[in-house]
Amino acid sequence: MAPLTYLQAISAALRDELRDDERVLIMGEDIGAFGGAFKVTDGFVSEFGPERVMDTPLAESGIIGTAVGAAVVGMRPVCEMQFSDFISCGFDQLVNVAGKMHYRQGLAVPITVRLPSGGGFSGGPFHSQNPEGWFMHAPGIKIVAPSTAEDAKGLLHTAIRDPNPVCYMEHKHLYRRIKGEVPEGVFETPLTARVARSGSDLVVIAYGAMVHTALEATEDLEGASIEVLDLRSLVPLDEDAILDSVARCSKVVIVDEANATCAAGAQVAALIAQRGFEDLDGPVVRVATPDVPIPFSPPLEQAVLPSVDRIREACHELLEY
């Protein structure tokens, strides 16, 4: 075991995969010679060569489309969108070609798409998004979102080894801020949720960076026992874990850093309303970024992203209910 940052864990996973499986190919803009916009692949090209650590043209549709082609002839491409926001340029290839291929033609498309997402550092509207909601809505695409260094490694292994298209939501704000013990070698984290803190009076459901915000917000809240559930996998969604937390806690706050409408939390809320109804002792509460492009100036950005205070207040209100 060694303590690694979230970013180092991602690099370690990629390195292990490239070493372990000659079919693995990583591709993206500026990932080779430059080592990646965030230095995730720093030093890779000297170990693995420019063909397996490929600097692609500036063409997101091309990156995803060619990854599909390479995948169906036996490779395991791991493509990177430099910022998750740019996935919109490759939306068609991901949703219509990759996502639907197995259902229609029985042909598996084992690609992984790494999506550095999230805000909190004045990235502005095109470098701060959390677009996973779009792809939860598209059949045939799995989505994972680690919040810890260990899960960052384990979920990336799982994603790369999964025979289906997987979107890997890596949160930029966690890259260097989160450190944790990470087991050595290859290990696959299951596509299930994780109880980040166990509790009984109320459960906060979150994923990605919001797990840490939620933990901080509920550490010491009037002595209440507050559970924090880290979803980790959005597709498939761990419905059993969600309903189990609701059954024990009966009060739920769901946090999304993504824009509120049709975010992952909306699906979780619908699930709870339908299948957890009898366990509820209060309305299902959501804390999410409002439906605005993420603004650039710090006071504006801080005002829209869910903060420790907003989560605390929502929990406080619901506890009192």
């Binding site: 190919l25 043209p57 082609g69 070609v97 229609r104 033609q105 598996a108 059949p139």
Partner: protein, 352 residues
């Protein structure tokens, strides 16, 4: 525009260029099957047996028959909606094609996708999507993998004049050119994209842009199956030698509407008439009759084969509704595309 049309060489037992007699017969057979299947399917469509829409490649049969014939078993194809002959060359049976049109359980997609949106992965074909020309990038990616692994294989896709206006055309041409990939892009210039004629589609013919991306661009008579074969064969050699991608512009004419529900009133009748005289099947039949092949017997054989196939497909069951939500995800190992049939005599080493 420079045109490279295959010239018939001195008759050596009927062989011409790289094609032996049996190859030339194969080409006709593939085109007859394509046309026969499509005509029969059109009738079934009007009889209410084919749901949804129906597309055919009437008058364009040589484009897919000729090009697919030049592909080796280990090569990979992305086949589009007017390229039925390509499926036939690779080994997909007519009965399964009819079942596919009729949405039966035994169709290639078991009713999951319709008309020509299919690709049998077991014979190395990827099924198309409706967003054109997305498949150009998939073919580029397959070629990219071949190059990384140092394999002597290539990928090929067809696409139409209309789809050259979309971004993926540019991204694929650029990517293939900058990485010098073993991919062949067959542009089926059939004069119309639905109702949109060429002069509303582009200012410069796409084949002239090929050089701008670092590709070799050639124009071929798309109604000459043997010329299509030769051009594709050359492109394949080029690709395998490491000299990069080729765009083959196959000039042809879409003789029917965009789909069965389109009567193409917008196409000038004179244009249609002119192209009628250049029917690819009639061309090939004339050539073979000249060297003494019994074309009528072949036709009769094909007709019988198609009738039997249609009957077989009509007996096939519809898919089980209970299974409608299955198969979204692959649950086991991801299997890559497999090799297909490659009937050209040159692949078995028997060519002289």
């Amino acid at each position: 525009m420079a045109t490279q049309t295959a010239q018939a060489t001195a008759r050596t037992g009927g062989a011409v260029g790289h094609l032996q007699v049996e190859d030339r017969i194969w080409l006709l057979r593939a085109m007859l099957l394509m046309r026969g299947i499509e005509e029969r399917a059109m009738t079934l469509y009007r009889q209410g047996k084919v749901p949804g829409s129906f597309y055919d490649g009437f008058g364009q049969e040589a484009v897919s028959a000729g090009a697919a014939f030049a592909m080796a078993a280990e090569d990979r194809l992305c086949i589009l909606h007017r390229d039925l002959a390509a499926h036939i060359v690779r080994g997909v049976t007519p009965a399964r094609i009819f079942a596919q049109y009729m949405g039966r359980e035994t169709g290639i997609t078991a009713g999951r996708d319709g008309n020509v949106h299919f690709g049998d992965y077991r014979v190395g074909c990827v099924g198309m999507v409706s967003m054109l020309p997305d498949m150009m990038l998939v073919a580029t990616g397959m070629a990219m993998a071949f190059k990384i692994r140092g394999e002597q294989r290539c990928a090929l896709t067809w696409f139409g004049d209309g789809s050259t206006s979309r971004g993926d055309f540019h991204e694929a041409m650029n990517w293939a050119g900058v990485q010098r990939l073993p991919v062949i892009f067959v542009l089926e210039n059939n004069q119309y994209a639905y109702s949109t004629p060429l002069d509303k589609q582009f200012a410069v013919d796409p084949v002239e842009r090929a050089a701008g991306y670092g590709l070799v661009g050639v124009t071929v008579d798309g109604n000459d199956a043997e010329a299509m074969f030769e051009a594709t064969h050359d492109a394949r050699e080029r690709a395998l030698a490491g000299d990069g991608p080729t765009m083959i512009e196959a000039v042809t004419m879409r003789m029917h509407g965009h789909a069965a529900h389109d009567d193409m009133k917008y196409v000038p009748k004179e244009l249609v008439e002119e192209w009628r005289k250049r029917d690819p099947i009639e061309q090939q039949e004339a050539r073979l009759r000249e060297i003494g092949v019994d074309v009528d017997a072949l036709r009769a054989e094909v007709t019988e084969e198609i009738n039997a196939a249609a009957q077989e497909a009509l007996q096939a069951p519809m898919p089980d509704p209970a299974k409608a939500t299955e198969g979204v995800f692959c649950e086991g190992e991801a299997e890559p595309l497999r090799d297909g049939q490659a009937p050209w005599s040159g692949f078995s080493g028997a060519a002289g």
